[in-house]
């Protein structure tokens, strides 16, 4: 953890990349850290500010095409996020933010736009928009329960060398090839918004544990509403037949 014992949660460009309730991921990380006695502060970085290099967890959210292109331009010239990744900081990116992590993605007219080159992957535009509830089984190497979320995107993403899928899709679209999201080291990306960490507290705890080490389990009453929501959403969506 950077400096004292306060966890720094850096939300990158909430003014450009925050379309689908992305604040939820920040709030859930903060809540779950504090319930363990770990102080966690929110650091909001707007597009006209420099990205701090000493954050612990960096969050990137979803965005429309135009803001996504602008965010890519700013983040490339800023260099802070890439430096943080090279230092081994945790990065968790959703939807448009996820696409930004790769080498290129599709812009507002379908043109290819250069990404941040943090992960070896490329995104483009698919034939149709994937909209709806999504279920996916997490990569066994991460040891997490099934993911539930909502997706709304037209992107398709191909992973390159050294980048593993985050999950395998049961219902929904994800990367477009049956896989969902990407994972390499301490960098995770996903098409699930939802916001995804609200419905998938195990994923939130994984990110926290990468910074804070082993976490104590929360009390049942502290998990009650989260677990109720998670059970309801899992029950509401039937996995597609294999």
């Amino acid at each position: 953890m950077g400096g004292a014992s306060t966890l720094r949660l850096v939300w990158v460009y909430p003014d450009l990349l925050s379309t689908y309730g992305d604040r939820g991921n920040l709030l859930v990380l903060q809540r779950r850290a504090r319930l363990r006695g770990i102080e966690a502060e929110q650091v909001l970085v707007h597009a006209d500010q420099a990205v701090p290099r000493q954050g612990d967890i960096y969050l990137l959210g979803g965005g429309e095409d135009l803001p996504q292109v602008l965010a890519a331009r700013r983040l490339r010239s800023d260099g802070g996020l890439r430096a943080a990744a090279e230092r081994g900081a945790v990065i968790f990116a959703v939807c448009a933010g996820y696409q930004l992590l790769g080498t290129e993605f599709g812009g507002e007219e379908g043109q290819q736009v250069a990404g941040l080159e943090i992960l070896d992957m490329r995104s483009g535009r698919g034939e149709s928009r994937g909209v709806g509830e999504i279920l996916a089984d997490v990569n066994p190497a991460l040891g997490l329960p099934r993911l539930t979320g909502f997706e709304n995107h037209q992107g398709v993403t191909q992973r390159g060398h050294g980048v593993a899928p985050l999950a395998r899709v049961l219902t929904g679209v994800g990367n477009g090839d049956g896989t969902e999201g990407a994972w390499a080291g301490r960098v995770l990306g996903t098409y699930l918004h939802g916001p995804v960490l609200v419905r998938n507290p195990g994923l939130a705890d994984l990110l926290l544990s990468w910074v804070a080490g082993r976490l104590t389990p929360l009390a049942a009453r502290e998990e009650h509403w989260t677990q109720s929501l998670r059970d309801q959403r899992l029950a509401a969506v039937t996995p597609a037949a294999p």
Binding site: S18, H46, L66, L70, T226
Partner: protein, 412 residues
């Protein structure tokens, strides 16, 4: 109706009959089915029904139904019939049905769904197009709002002779409207900024200060305005200041009223004449209505998206008056509840909060994260029974609102 071609007349008559049957059968208020049938018989029905009338179109993410009602009230001063889709049926069929029901009205005030605006401009050749605001709403089925604004921009550029009344404080609205030949800019305010940090013209960062907004890179900036909402007052196009003193509550409705006054002036209805008529509007399609329920007063507020919830919080009675929040995620609501996380609920601390609706667990987790205490309830009556005082406010999204109206309507 004498001027309508035979097929359009037949389409209107059959459509009207279907609307009546639908109402009798208890299937909604009959304002859409008639139009659907009419359009099937005559695809140009909307254009034919619009010919020879002076038409006002009203669109935007929030405030369409209320502003349509306010403009209709103000134009009543002209002493002529005004056709209107007063109950919010705002796609092609609803518009055709509203015009078909009032064949002799020389004026029409029509609220239009954001996605339908370009087609409706083409068909109706409006005298005035009113643009209120644009923000995220039901994103699982709506287009990205920048694309919506771009389509408006193209449609308005092609609409020769049309007047646009537009909110200059909303950058996306300003961008869409600035392609039009004639624009009357209104300083109607914008509380929700989260969808307009990016210059719609060049994509750069927008800068904001007390004077408004401007692009940091290109020349795009807030246009200067002829009408201004200043707290509870309006400054009209000739610089006169009047107290609004509306019956409708909240900043958003004051903003809607100033826009309505600007539209009215295009028709020669001065503020001094229009304003008393706006003040008489106390409830719009069930919204802001106070209903007695088991000895308590229940007031209903409709809010469908983050910007709408922000404005609804502004209207709440002060604590400790309790509030019931009700959220569904059916198709008309949008099936994605992520937007709940874009709303800041901390203002609800210090009062009793109930949550209901099909997605009440989403609300529960959301409120827990904001450290707002709450109780789950099974519906409006369950909440009313737990209220200590004499009144309760309800904020609900679309289908949750309709369900509560039905529940309250049946009992009294």
């Amino acid at each position: 109706m004498g001027k309508l071609p035979m097929r359009a007349r037949l389409a209107t008559t059959l459509g009207g009959a279907a609307g009546t049957m639908s109402r009798l059968a208890g299937r909604g208020d009959g304002s859409v089915i008639g139009g659907v049938i009419g359009l099937r018989l005559e695809p140009d029905l909307l254009a034919l029904l619009s010919a020879g009338r002076q038409i006002v179109l009203v669109t935007g993410t929030n405030g369409k139904t209320t502003t349509t009602r306010l403009i209709t009230a103000a134009l009543g001063a002209l002493g002529q019939d005004v056709a209107s889709n007063a109950f919010g049926a705002n796609m092609e069929a609803g518009l055709a049905a509203a015009l078909g029901k009032a064949p002799d009205a020389p004026l029409a005030v029509l609220e239009v769904d954001e996605r339908w605006l370009p087609a409706v401009i083409k068909a109706t050749k409006p005298r005035v197009v009113t643009l209120l605001n644009l923000s995220r709403d039901q994103m699982d089925r709506a287009a990205e709002i920048w694309l919506v604004a771009r389509r408006w921009r193209e449609a308005l550029a092609a609409a020769k002779g049309c007047w646009v009344v537009a909110n200059a404080d909303d950058p996306l609205i300003a961008w869409a409207a600035s392609s039009a030949e004639h624009v009357i800019w209104v300083a109607a305010g914008q509380r929700w900024h989260e969808d307009s940090w990016c210059c719609a013209e060049c994509g750069s960062h927008l800068l904001r200060d007390e004077l408004g907004w401007r692009c940091g890179e290109c020349a795009f900036q807030r246009p200067s305005t002829r009408w201004v909402l200043d707290g509870d007052r309006v400054i009209d196009s000739s610089g006169r200041i009047s107290d609004l003193s509306l019956s409708l509550p909240g900043r958003a409705n004051r903003s809607n009223a100033v826009v309505a006054l600007a539209v009215s002036e295009v028709f020669g209805v001065e503020t001094a004449v229009a304003l008393p008529r706006l003040r008489n509007v106390a409830s719009v399609a069930g919204r802001y209505t106070r209903l007695a329920r088991r000895g308590r007063q229940v007031r209903l507020l409709l809010a469908k998206n983050p910007a709408g919830w922000l404005e609804a919080f502004d209207v709440l009675e002060p604590p400790p008056v309790p509030v019931l929040l009700a959220v569904n995620a059916q198709v008309p609501d949008g099936k994605d509840t992520s937007w709940l996380w874009d709303v800041d609920y901390r203002v609800l601390r210090g009062r009793r909060v109930f949550v209901s609706g099909e997605r009440r667990l989403d609300l529960a987790v959301r409120l827990e994260a904001d450290m707002v205490a709450f109780d789950l309830v099974d519906g409006v009556d369950d909440a009313v029974d737990q209220v200590d005082g004499t009144s309760m406010d309800v904020i609900a999204n679309y289908t949750a609102f309709q369900q509560i109206r039905v529940a309250l309507g049946r009992a009294e």
